[in-house]
Each structure stands twice: as structure tokens, then as C-alpha cells.
């Protein structure tokens, strides 16, 4: 299972970077999305793919019974998804504004500040 996920993560990173290198602001955004998804899935995978009990402490015990699924990676991913969502919304607005202002989707056409 983790081998499969490793391949998926690799594909996400590769296609993300490929998209970012295209001559298009829209594809640049898609690339960023794929990159952040790859990072999220990576946290999920390295956090351990154990099919375990919920991490709830039973009555009378002081620790959850092993094996239990680690909830922390999921909490991290949730936080990262929320942040990623906000950043993505901002980037979309910025890139749309740039598209309106410059009338082009190609980053190479935006030569104004950086000769």
C-alpha cells in the first residue's frame, strides 16, 4: 500500500512541477495545487498506514490500546488543507487580476518589472 502511495506522490510532484513550468498562469496554479496535494499525501503516508483502532482511551486505562491509528498526521493534513485552500483562493484572485491587467496568460508576456 505504501509503495503504491509512494508512486502516486511521486506522480503528483512530477506533474505538479511539469505544470508549473508550462507557459500559463492557470497551469501554474494547477501545479501548485498538485504540489500541495503531494505534500499532504506524503504526510499521510509517512505517518504510518496502520489499520488500527480509534485512538480512544478505554474506561479504566491510561493509554489507548495498541494498535491504534495515529490521529496527528490527519490533524496536520487538515490544517495544511485549510491553509492551502486560503492561499489558493488568494492566488486565483491575484492571477485573474494579472490576466485582466496584462491581457495574457503567459508569464513571459508580463515584462514590466524585471528585464
Amino acid at each position: 500500500m505504501s509503495t503504491l502511495l509512494a508512486v502516486v506522490i511521486g506522480c503528483l510532484y512530477a506533474s505538479g512541477i511539469y505544470m508549473m513550468l508550462r507557459h500559463s498562469l492557470f497551469k501554474l496554479i494547477l501545479g501548485l495545487v498538485l504540489l500541495s496535494h503531494g505534500a499532504n499525501l506524503l504526510i499521510f503516508t509517512v505517518g504510518g498506514l496502520t489499520r488500527g483502532r480509534p485512538p480512544v482511551v478505554p474506561d479504566g486505562a491510561t493509554a489507548p490500546a495498541v494498535p491504534y491509528a495515529d490521529p496527528l498526521p490527519q490533524a496536520l493534513i487538515l490544517t495544511a488543507i485549510v491553509i492551502g485552500f486560503a492561499v489558493l483562493a488568494f492566488s486565483l484572485a491575484l492571477f485573474h487580476r494579472a490576466y485582466q491587467t496584462f491581457g495574457s496568460d503567459d508569464p513571459d508576456d508580463l515584462k514590466v518589472s524585471d528585464q
Binding site: L42, T45, V87, S91, P107, V112, S113
Partner: protein, 512 residues
């Protein structure tokens, strides 16, 4: 009491941002609130520094859970110094903003964003947890994204796209590195990580993760070869914003590098710190050569800024490349001193570029001139941070480079010492070039079409505009003349950083 001190640098900007948002339409109130809020932040930073210096490292676990499960906030001397400097830069740039920011930007949330940026920066300095560091980075980045493009001018949008893209890539790398580290150790508390990483057999895996952090923080710190977003964006927003960015943002990257490479990734220093040393040298050289090739005021400063980052990482690199503890302390103290000196000088230079722009109507050095004749005071004032940047005694830059050079000689790394000295000389050439173009040469005739000498004489500077410039110049002189107490503070901070057990014990408790 200590808990409150650690939380205040976060609460004050957060509350200021929230109240400013509520007072959206009342700009005068926002301006007044900004002064109170940032002054309070500076006061909190100074108090924090005083208490940490007296009592040693202080830490607190928010949320009622013991370490390493609670939300750790920790301040050692290095953090406290950085928080205090954040307050200094914040206040200086805020006063400058009050005098220079246009009504349009003020009406669209300049002040709430200003507070949010300070919040993110202070959070990054005070957190004791790697994932929270990521979150604070995002808080800081989000505020900086909006500040950078606020106003929506064409150059801003163009610079903004590059800035946003590269910083998001850096965040993705950072997040991946955090995830892998959690998989390796099962913890993200920095003190806990420091303890557990030492016990991992496969040092190569740990080093690989360390390299991911080097890339992530290297992009933020604008280290060679990851600095391209900086000269593409720093010259596009209003002067106050670029001064704020120059003062604080890259320093957060440098801070994070120093933190993780003194606390956590110390297993294979012969490799990691040598790599940082090479990158430092290349950063210095490319930065200063880039500066010489430019002829737009703020672009010159952007490249000089990059060159200076190399000095800060040089101290960190030398720590891992010497066997003598006293040399390591000297090198790291040099880095910390350099950060303090650089924040004062660089913020000031960016503010000055904005003053010059007001007087000459352009940032293009070729079309500027005549300021020595019309504004001799300003011309002399500019020389203070400019000469300090190139390391001229008795200004702060000299005493910042001195320990780095001494440590480099002591460690037998003569190549980096030669590079550092040569780059200092080239920096002098570059700032002298700015001075000759903007101040010394007469105002070019063809430039008088839109701005004439009469405008120079009319006086476009207000006392409020010059107050932060004078104050930061005074700080540069003070750090230079009073180098001894500042340096002993930096030395104490470096000793704390290198005494890892002290940090671990302060956060996790337990026997010393």
C-alpha cells in the same frame, strides 16, 4: 508571569489587527491604534529580552497539555532579540507609513495587514514546534502577499506572481519535510526532535530531511541559488512595504536556518555546514555582483540585501566546521550581531530610497541627482547605513564582520574570509555608486521636465518621514560605538544556542 510575556508579542498584533478590521472605515482610528499597538509590541519585546537575559530560557505549554504534546512557546535570547528587533522595525516603518502611505491603500486594510505580518513574524520566532512554525510562516506569507500587491499596479502584480509562486513552493517543501520528520521520530516539538534525532541510526536519512529544510528556509532567506523572487518583487510595492519586507522577512528564514541547524541537524556537520558555507560564499558574490549591474535604486538594494544574507549564514556554517567551542560561539555571535546590524541598516536604506524617490520623482539612479546640493543633511544621513553596510569602522557593520572574519581565520577557512572581505569592498563600491548618482552628481537636465529644482527646494519631506530614518541611523551608530555590550549579548545568545541541553531541558523539563 512568564506565560504572559511569551503570549503578549502574539496577542498585541493579533488584537491590533482585529480591532483595526472592526474600525475599517475610520482610518484615523486605525492609524492611532497602529502606533499604540506597535509601540506596545516593542515594549513587550524589550521586556521579554530583559527577562530572558535575567532568568534564562523561558518556555510555556499552551492548551493545558505537558510538553511535548502542548502548544510550545519558547523564548531563548536569540528569539527574544529577534522579537525586539521586530518591534523596532515595525515602529520605524509604521511611522514612515503614517507619513507616506496613500489614502487608497490605507482604506483597503494596510494597517490590519501590517499587524498580521508582525504577528506571523513574532509567532515564527517564539514557537517551539515545527508544524506551528509552518503555520506562522503561512500567516506571515499571507499578509506579505496582500501587502505586496495591495494597490494592484502592473509591476506589483508581476512581482507578486513570482513572489507568491516561489514562496508557495517553499511552503510545500517545508510541509513535506515536516511530514517526513514526523514519520521518522513521531514528534514535531523542536526540543523533543533534538533529543530523538540523535538516536536515529541512519544519519543519511536525517541529513536528507535536513536538506529539504535547507531548501525551504533557503528560499525564504534568499540564499543562492534560491533568491530570484527577491529582486523580482522587492522594488515593486510602496517604499514602506519594501522596507518592512527587507527588515523582517528574509530574517525569519535565516532565523529558522540557524534554529534547525544548531538544535536539530547536528549529526553530519562536516557535510551540511560545509554546504551552507559554500552557499554563503556564492550568495555574497552573486548578490554584490548583481547589485553592481543594476541602476534602479531599490533593485541595487535588493541585490545588496541578498549579498548580506551570505554573511549571516557564514557564521552558522563556521559553527559546524570548527572543533573549538569558543570559535563556534564567536562565529554564531557574529551571525546574530550581523542580523541586528543588518536589520537596522537595510530597513533604513530602503526607507531612504523612498525619500529620494519623493525628492527626485524616480527610482532610476540615472535620472536622480543634485541631492547633496539641496539636502546635505540627507546626503550625510545616507552615508551612515551605506558605509555601515560595507563594514566601515566605527559603524555597526565593521563589528559585525570582525567576529565572522576572526572565526573564519580560526577555523582555517581562508577562502570564505577572502570572499567576505572582497564582497565588503565591492559593497562599498556599490553604495558609493548610489551616493555618487543620487546625491553627488547634478540633477540631469532631461529629468527636470517633470520634477524641477523648485520641487527639491519646496521640501517634500516632513519631519515624520525623516524621524524613522534618523532613528535607525542613530541605532546603526549606537550599535557601532557601543559594540561591546551588544556583542556580549550576542555571545550569550550564541552560547545558549550551542548549549542544546539547556533548550531541551527548558522545554521538556527533567534533569539538566
Amino acid at each position: 508571569m512568564n506565560n504572559i510575556l511569551l503570549v503578549l508579542p502574539l496577542l498585541i498584533p493579533l488584537a491590533s489587527a482585529a480591532v483595526s478590521l472592526l474600525a475599517w472605515r475610520r482610518i484615523a482610528l486605525q492609524r492611532a491604534l497602529a502606533v499604540v499597538g506597535v509601540a506596545a509590541l516593542l515594549a513587550a519585546g524589550v521586556t521579554l529580552l530583559a527577562v530572558v537575559r535575567r532568568d534564562g530560557i523561558i518556555a510555556t505549554q499552551e492548551g493545558g497539555w505537558p510538553a511535548p504534546y502542548g502548544i510550545t512557546l519558547v523564548a531563548d535570547l536569540f528569539s527574544a532579540i529577534m522579537v525586539m528587533l521586530t518591534g523596532v522595525v515595525g515602529l520605524a516603518v509604521l511611522l514612515f507609513s503614517l507619513a507616506s502611505m496613500d489614502r487608497g491603500r490605507e482604506a483597503f486594510g494596510y494597517y490590519p495587514l501590517f499587524h498580521a505580518l508582525l504577528l506571523g513574524v513574532c509567532g515564527a520566532f517564539l514557537t517551539g514546534d515545527l508544524f506551528n512554525l509552518y503555520v506562522w510562516f503561512e500567516v506571515m506569507l499571507m499578509a506579505s502577499f496582500v501587502l505586496l500587491v495591495l494597490g494592484g499596479e502592473r509591476p506589483q502584480l508581476h512581482g507578486g506572481i513570482k513572489y507568491v509562486t516561489l514562496n508557495l513552493v517553499s511552503s510545500a517543501v517545508f510541509l513535506a519535510a515536516v511530514g517526513i520528520l514526523y514519520g521518522l521520530t513521531g514528534t514535531l516539538n523542536m526540543a523533543d526532535l533534538a533529543r530523538k534525532l540523535g538516536g536515529i541510526e541512519e544519519t543519511s536519512t536525517v541529513t536528507a530531511v535536513g536538506m529539504l529544510f535547507l531548501v525551504a528556509f533557503g528560499i525564504k532567506a534568499a540564499v543562492f541559488p534560491l533568491f530570484f523572487w527577491l529582486p523580482a518583487s522587492y522594488h515593486t510595492p510602496p517604499g514602506a512595504v519594501s522596507a518592512l519586507f527587507a527588515g523582517l522577512l528574509t530574517k525569519v528564514g535565516v532565523y529558522s536556518l540557524i534554529r534547525v541547524y544548531t538544535l536539530m541537524f547536528v549529526g553530519d556537520m562536516a557535510f551540511t555546514h560545509l554546504l551552507i558555507l559554500i552557499l554563503s560564499g556564492l550568495t555574497m558574490v552573486t548578490g554584490v555582483l548583481g547589485a553592481i549591474a543594476q541602476d534602479e535604486f531599490r533593485r541595487v538594494l535588493s541585490f545588496l540585501h541578498i549579498g548580506q544574507i551570505g554573511y549571516m549564514t557564514m557564521g552558522l556554517a563556521l559553527v559546524g566546521l570548527t572543533d573549538s567551542p569558543s570559535l563556534a560561539i564567536l562565529a554564531l555571535a557574529g551571525s546574530i550581531f550581523y542580523i541586528a546590524h543588518h536589520i537596522a541598516a537595510m530597513t533604513n536604506l530602503f526607507l531612504m530610497s523612498s525619500v529620494v524617490r519623493r525628492l527626485c520623482g524616480t527610482f532610476e539612479l540615472k535620472r536622480q541627482g543634485g541631492l547633496y546640493q539641496s539636502r546635505p543633511f540627507l546626503a550625510v544621513l545616507f552615508l551612515i547605513p551605506a558605509l555601515s553596510l560595507s563594514g566601515m569602522p566605527p559603524l555597526s557593520g565593521f563589528f559585525a564582520k570582525l567576529p565572522l572574519v576572526q572565526a573564519g581565520l580560526g577555523a582555517g577557512r581562508y577562502a570564505i574570509v577572502a570572499t567576505a572581505l572582497a564582497v565588503g569592498l565591492l559593497t562599498l563600491y556599490s553604495v558609493a555608486n548610489i551616493w555618487a548618482e543620487a546625491f553627488w552628481k547634478p540633477l540631469p537636465q532631461d529629468a527636470t521636465a517633470d520634477v524641477g529644482p523648485q520641487r527639491l527646494a519646496a521640501g517634500e519631506t516632513t519631519p515624520l518621514l525623516l524621524l524613522p530614518v534618523v532613528a535607525l541611523a542613530a541605532m546603526t551608530v549606537a550599535i557601532g560605538l557601543g559594540a561591546e555590550p551588544v556583542f556580549s549579548l550576542a555571545t550569550e545568545a550564541a552560547e545558549q544556542l550551542l548549549h542544546r541541553e539547556g533548550y531541551i531541558q527548558a522545554v521538556l523539563g527533567g534533569p539538566a
